[in-house]
C-alpha cells in the first residue's frame, strides 16, 4: 500500500523524457502540461488495472496475468498498443529468461536424467518463485530514478 499520496505519482524525470521522445525535436512542453500528463498516466494505470481485474474475476482468477492486461487494452480501445505490447513482452521474456532459462534448461536436462533427484527440483522451484515475486527490485529502481532526476 502507498504510504504517501506522492507515492502514486510516476517519476517526473522519466515522464518528461518519454514525452520529449514522443514529440518532434524542439517542442516546448509547459510544466503544467507535463504534470497533467503524469497524472493522466497514473489514472491510466488505475483504469487499466480495474479493467484487467474484471477479466481476471470473470475467469475466477485472483492473479492478474498478461492476457488480462491485453484484454483491458482492447476494452479501453487502445488496440493500437496491442502489437507493440506483445513485441515488448517477447523481448522482456527473452531478457528476463536468459539467465533463468539457461539454468532451467540445465536443470530440466538433469531432471530428465534423474527424475528422482528431488532436492534439485525443490531448489529449482525456489528459484522460480523468487523470479516471479522479486524481479522488480524496488530499491534499485528507486535509485535509478534519483539518478535520472539529477
Amino acid at each position: 500500500m502507498a504510504e504517501r499520496p506522492e507515492d502514486l505519482n510516476l517519476p517526473n524525470a522519466v515522464i518528461s523524457r518519454i514525452i520529449k521522445e514522443a514529440l518532434p525535436d524542439g517542442v516546448n512542453v509547459s510544466k503544467e502540461a507535463r504534470r497533467a500528463i503524469s497524472q493522466a498516466a497514473s489514472v491510466f494505470v488505475l483504469y487499466a488495472t480495474s479493467c484487467a481485474n474484471n477479466f481476471a474475476m470473470k475467469a475466477k482468477r485472483k492473479t492478474l496475468n498478461a492476457g488480462d492486461v491485453l484484454a483491458a487494452m482492447e476494452e479501453m480501445e487502445f488496440e493500437r498498443f496491442l502489437e507493440p505490447l506483445r513485441e515488448a513482452l517477447e523481448v522482456y521474456k527473452g531478457q528476463k529468461g536468459k539467465k533463468v532459462s539457461e539454468q532451467k534448461r540445465k536443470d530440466k536436462e538433469k531432471k530428465a536424467d534423474s527424475e528422482n533427484d528431488k532436492s534439485r527440483e525443490e531448489e529449482e522451484e525456489e528459484e522460480e518463485h523468487m523470479e516471479e515475486e522479486e524481479p522488480a527490485e524496488p530499491e534499485n529502481e528507486e535509485e535509478e530514478e534519483e539518478e535520472v532526476d539529477n
Binding site: 510516476l10 522519466v14 502540461a33 484487467a52 522482456y92 522488480a136
Partner: protein, 119 residues
C-alpha cells in the same frame, strides 16, 4: 560504469524495446486499487509498457490536435481539449478539466446567485 552495466546501456539506447518507468511504482499504483490481490510479473511489465505508450500517444495526439504546432509548444489546454474531444481519452476529463477564466466563473456565479435570489 557502463561497462559493468550492459543492461542499463541497453535500456538507454533501445528504449523502444524495454521500459523506462519504474515497475515498482506502477505496482504500487496498481495495488492501491482495493480489489486487486496479486499481479503476475508479465502483467506488471505490460501495464508499465502500456503506460509509456499511453504517455507518448497522449502527448503526440494533443500536440497534433492543438494549435501549438506553429509555436512548437504543448500546453495544458491542448491536453484538456484532447481529453474532451477524443473518445479513448474521455476517461481523463475529470483530471484534465478545461480551464475557464475567473472573470467568466464569477459571472456565472453571479448569474446563479441572481437566479437564486429570484425565488
Amino acid at each position: 560504469m557502463s561497462q559493468n552495466n550492459p543492461d542499463k546501456d541497453d535500456q538507454k539506447s533501445g528504449s523502444k524495446k524495454t521500459i523506462s518507468l519504474p515497475i515498482s511504482r506502477v505496482r504500487l499504483i496498481m495495488k492501491s486499487s482495493p480489489d486487486v490481490s496479486s499481479i503476475n510479473q508479465d502483467a506488471l511489465f505490460l501495464t508499465t509498457k502500456a503506460t509509456e505508450l499511453f504517455v507518448q500517444h497522449l502527448a503526440l495526439s494533443s500536440f497534433n490536435n492543438g494549435p501549438g504546432k506553429e509555436t512548437n509548444t504543448l500546453s495544458y489546454s491542448d491536453l484538456a481539449n484532447t481529453a474532451e474531444e477524443t473518445d479513448t481519452f474521455h476517461f481523463l476529463t475529470d483530471i484534465l478539466p478545461k480551464k475557464i477564466l475567473a472573470r467568466d466563473y464569477l459571472e456565472s456565479l453571479e448569474q446563479m446567485q441572481e437566479e437564486e435570489a429570484d425565488f
